[in-house]
Amino acid sequence: MQVIKIKGSDDTPTIILDAENNIMEISGRSLPEDVASFYEPVLEWLDEYAQSPNEKTVMDFKLVYFNTASSKLLLDILLKLEDLSDEGNDVLVRWHYPDDDEDMEEAGEEYADIVDVPFEQISYSLD
């Protein structure tokens, strides 16, 4: 399966989607000019991945900032992971947040409430 590697910038996140090496990760900042077209390849990749997923799927979210338009697309990604989980696959979402960032922690909690998928909150230190 094709590997997606997008290098982050000051308004777009770093994205790695690599099924063979079992790496799925979104990190950094997200406020792209056109959110829908930015995340489209990610959603398409997940659709293709869902056809023959790995034994265990772990997706890491390690964002420091995202705008509300991105939050909607992040939910779309999480909903795809929920579908995968609903089909009986072993799926885990790991939500990483800076230990001094209550808002990012809360954002994870809210997603965990909305989406029915195993969800792990992990705090990390920026220092």
Partner: protein, 191 residues
């Protein structure tokens, strides 16, 4: 002679404007199109200023959040009476000021008068909710809302209220039967 008077008036205007900005602690004021590039420039300018002034991390993040949502509101919702409809970006005024205890982010833009009622209803509803209520509304909107053609998720105001923990201050100024001026001020505590 006439030219001298004009120049004088303009100088007075500039100095007066400068004094007014200072008296209101305005750090940044802009009038015009709000594009993605402008949003990026203003946020990074404000960020580096806050960093220099050693503003706490949480305050920096909240100011950043509010700025982005406010700027995107203008670029997505401002009506454009004088310009052709093929112009994509919205126009408006954007202002950020730093006081002793809080940052104020103010936007002003024209909107169609007919949109006032809907907007007021939405803002009043947000202001009537406590933290838990806002969380609930946010979750409902993110689940049920659709991304608009211009990329708006309908979450901006809710997010500002949630992140600042303060009510949204707003005013409408009727310009004529079609157009009104909408002013929104969000405050972020520096504590």
């Amino acid at each position: 002679m006439a030219e001298n008077v004009n120049r004088h008036n303009f100088l007075d205007f500039v100095y007066d404007f400068y004094l007014k900005m200072k008296s209101k602690d305005v750090n940044l004021v802009y009038e015009g199109e709000i594009t993605h590039q402008i949003t990026k420039a203003f946020t990074s300018l404000t960020e580096s200023k806050m960093l220099r002034e050693e503003e706490p991390n949480t305050v920096q993040k909240k100011v950043f959040h509010v700025m982005v949502e406010c700027l995107q509101n203008i670029s997505k919702h401002a009506s454009q009476p004088e310009i052709a409809t093929d112009e994509k970006e919205g126009k408006g005024i954007f202002m950020i000021s730093k006081g002793e205890s809080e940052y104020l982010v103010t936007t002003g833009n024209t909107i169609p008068t007919e949109k006032i009622d809907g907007l007021r209803f939405m803002l009043e509803n947000i202001n009537s909710l406590d933290k838990e209520g806002l969380k609930k509304l946010y979750k409902q909107q993110i689940r049920e809302g659709r991304l608009s053609e211009k990329g708006g998720a309908g979450l901006g105001f809710i997010d500002i209220a949630k992140k600042t923990g303060r009510p949204l201050e707003y005013h409408f100024l009727t310009l004529d039967k079609d157009e009104s001026f909408f002013v929104l001020t969000s405050s972020i505590s520096r504590k």
